[in-house]
Amino acid sequence: MAVAWIGNRDAPVQHAVEQAAELLAASRCPVISIDTDIHGTRAAIALAERIGAAYDHPFEGVARETATFTDRGGIFVSPGEVRRRADVVVVVGDLPAYSREFVSELAETVPDLAGDNSRSFFSVTGTPIGPFPADNQGPVTHLSCKGTDLTGTVAALRAHLAGRRISSPVENADRLSKALGHARFTAFLCSGAGLDDLALEMVQGLAADLNKKARASILLIPTSEAGWGSVLVSTWTTGLPLRTSFSRGAPEFDPWRWNVGRMIEEGEVDLHLWIGAGSPPAKNGDSKLIALTKTGQPVADAAITIPIGEPGADHDAVLLSARTGTLAARPASEPSRMPAAATVINSILEHLDPTC
């Protein structure tokens, strides 16, 4: 029998599952943090519906990316089209670390569907992007605006490109303006991991301005591939993205109210179910923690810890691939006996009182 933990004591997984079901059923304000594969998310949402829980992803950037769609919409492009078509690439803000490989790929290739087989890079960020150095000696032209932050710089850049007066010039803005004048297809690369809501909106405005006469589009690189996959699942199963709750029976979406991190911090929660890798946030007050994570030891302060495998490594999984921009099947690369999150959650569901 595989091992789980109740507190710090070893326990059979089956026993831990039963205990978890009891705790979840007894909870008056349960919340779930989901950072797992597609089928794990489906199971977690089914569990949330049964117990009246709110659910969320742990990374704030996922919520900002969600708001880009729910609040404003915009114009977006796939990674494949960026690689094959973008002759001007503008990186705005920090990108998730995992996307470095894609940016390197863009640096090593040229567009074959548009332009003159060359690609120029601009960066509205103070940190290095992909393989490039963080100064003007490399092939990247950096854009900056003294006396303001990143969001202000993007705003000043948009104003400059629209021909409006700005109080502080954007360094190298004319070079970008010239490049845009010749561009066949401009791609902006950004992420909720590196931009706040206002900056994300400003980038959309910039692209909208350019599309009046030319072509430009935005590659929104997810803060978390698992997180964006969970957003997609939640949307087709409940009609609503993450930060949704079943506390009143029907699903309700409220990005402030059902922000699980905020709820924990402000003591609104009596039970936190953590599903995924990484460390759950410190529990607050008397609330309890159930951790489903890949671990060989009990998680600190967890009432129950049940080990699960890594999707696509320990077990077959479906995950979002930011590289293709869609869902992909990932056979287990190092198959193990560690169960999938979906398996454990479905087992918990089977142990819940049917009236729950």
Binding site: G73, S78, R215, L232, W236, P251, L327
Partner: protein, 543 residues
């Protein structure tokens, strides 16, 4: 289990049955009356009509663009929950789960998602797998993808193009192929803003007409039962009738299906230069036997338009209601999401009337299909009201009283006396879709057909009758009773499985590695990824 549906008025145009009688079901299929055996379950269908389960050939129910529409409009879903009958999109089956339930309650048992991006096939099938009760199918979108356009530009042989189409349909688990504004999305990426049938896609030197004709012949030669499904250029534009007319003429004796023809029934007469050309289009369809069409009827109220015609959606984003939209420059077609409210003003009234004119002026119910292009013309939950409009001249007249008189004056609608019969409804929504899609096991009530059966309680209120089926059986299981879902089951996705040519697979692998830095795994996936037992059911290509 042997079940008898007793004493209903059976309407089965394929089997030639129209009269009161019994229908027998056993082990999920319809059977001949068994001699010397009694039914274990008898369903009293007296006072009811009995038809095969309905089939919707064109309804956007799942996949990337549909899900993006959900993501764009959470306020509509949220508003709907506490006040379901009073809010925008209140009847829209917004989640995958609700979609299956609502279709089943109306007696629909098979629905086709008509716009699956091949690279997004796994996502699409995962969504479809979460739609309960009904069977589903998809059409794979081609015609803006670099690989095909390059083949055409380079004068590749027809067999090579057929190999590519076969691989696409097979790997994406589709039931057929569709082209959406052929070449238009590719042209838009090169900053083209208007694109017609004889315009040339920049960088390829290939016309939209050439793309349509190439795909039409590939589908025909591969024996794919459903003809090429065409979303023409210039959707929604005044004068779009010319584009549709030219596309119909381009069929040249080979089957071609034109989607949501209502959006192409627009002339340029009148002071607003927007008028009905439905009579002209209907006449041309009537005279062109190789053409089938679905209507894409407009009904009034809030909806959201979802299309892989990114060029059209980009142009329409200024009319968004509420004021937000998503435009996606995807691989191949991409797409656009633009919420929209159809008002009872001049334009909305004209669109509504044009759709009905097409329904009523196209004479052969085997060649005109019942759709609202869900949700583009209206949510599919508007179907019961639409049945009533087709079957009652009086209902049309009453509806017209609240609409723009100047718009209706530009149409022939109120002069049309035709009322659809139940037999014609059975053809248009059951028998004909099954034949068009190559689904020999459904759309009829003959022995051996799968037991997809819809039973409606007859009444003067046609919308009520079709909106709330008395009984619905799916694969022989009772799933709806008195308009309520009584059992959930997971349907399957119907697919073709043409054998991909190995040389083409190697070529595609090399192409994707070189051009995208990716393997073909992007497109293909194992069945375990769906996490349902037997998620697919294979349909045969013609020999």
């Amino acid at each position: 289990m042997l079940t008898k549906i007793a004493g209903g008025e059976i309407i089965d145009p394929v089997g030639g049955r129209h009269g009161v009688g019994d229908l027998w079901i056993e082990d999920g299929v319809i059977v001949d009356p068994p001699a010397g055996r009694n039914a274990e379950t008898t369903v009293d269908a007296s006072g009811c009509i009995v038809m095969a389960g309905a089939i919707d050939i064109h309804s956007h129910i799942g996949g990337g663009n549909v899900n993006t529409a959900r993501l764009l409009l959470p306020e509509h879903h949220s508003a709907h929950l506490p006040r379901p009958s009073e809010t925008p999109l209140s009847n829209l089956g917004w989640t995958a789960f609700q979609t299956g339930r609502l279709y089943a309650q109306m007696g629909f048992t098979t629905v086709v998602e008509p716009a699956m991006a091949p690279g997004n096939a796994l996502h699409t099938h995962l969504e479809l797998a979460d739609i309960p009760i009904i069977d589903k199918a998809t059409l794979a979108v081609l015609g803006n993808d670099d690989f095909l356009l390059s083949l055409i530009r380079d004068n590749a042989s027809s067999s090579m193009i057929e190999d590519y189409v076969a691989w696409t349909v097979a790997s994406s688990r589709a039931l057929g192929a569709k082209v959406i504004n052929a070449g238009g999305s590719a042209a838009f990426k090169e900053n083209v803003r208007r694109f017609s049938l004889d315009d040339i896609v920049p960088s390829y030197g290939v016309s939209s007409r050439k793309i349509v004709k190439t795909l039409q012949m590939a589908v025909q030669n591969l024996g794919i039962p459903h003809p090429l499904h065409v979303h023409c250029n210039n959707l929604g534009m005044p004068g779009s009738v010319d584009t549709a007319a030219a596309t119909i003429a381009a069929a040249e004796g080979v089957p071609l299906h034109l989607a949501h023809l209502q959006f192409y029934g627009y002339g340029t007469e009148g002071k607003r230069r927007f008028s009905s050309a439905a009579s002209q289009l209907a006449e041309q369809v009537n005279a062109t036997p190789e053409i089938t069409i679905d209507v894409g009827q407009v009904m009034f109220g809030q909806t959201v338009t979802i299309s892989s015609d990114v060029l059209r959606q980009f142009s329409a984003r200024g009319n968004a209601h509420p004021k937000k939209s998503v435009i996606f420059d995807g691989d191949g077609n991409g797409g656009g999401i633009v919420p929209y409210r159809y008002r009872k003003d001049f334009y909305g009234s004209l669109q509504w009337a044009i759709g009905l004119e097409l329904f009523l002026l196209i004479t052969d119910p085997w060649r005109v299909f019942f759709t609202t292009d869900h949700p583009n013309g209206a949510p599919f939950t508007a179907y019961p009201a639409l049945f009533e409009l087709l079957m009652s001249k009086e209902a049309r007249r009453e509806m017209a009283e609240g609409l723009s008189a100047s718009a209706l004056a530009l149409t022939t609608l109120l002069a049309i006396d035709r009322e659809y019969t139940l037999e014609e409804i059975a053809v248009m929504t059951r028998a004909a879709p099954a034949r068009l899609l190559g689904l020999k096991d459904r759309g009829n009530l003959a022995a051996g057909a799968i037991a997809d059966v819809a039973v409606y309680r007859k009444g003067k209120d046609i919308a009520k009758m079709f909106g709330s089926a008395a009984f619905v059986f799916k694969d022989g299981e009772l799933v709806v009773k008195d308009g309520e879902v009584v059992a959930h089951r997971w349907g399957r996705a119907l697919r073709l499985a043409p054998q991909p040519d190995k040389t083409m697979v190697r070529r595609l692998e090399a192409y994707h590695q070189e051009r995208y830095g990716l393997s073909l795994d992007w497109f293909d996936f194992p069945d375990w990824a769906i996490a349902r037992e037997q998620p697919f059911s294979e349909v045969a290509c013609a020999a």
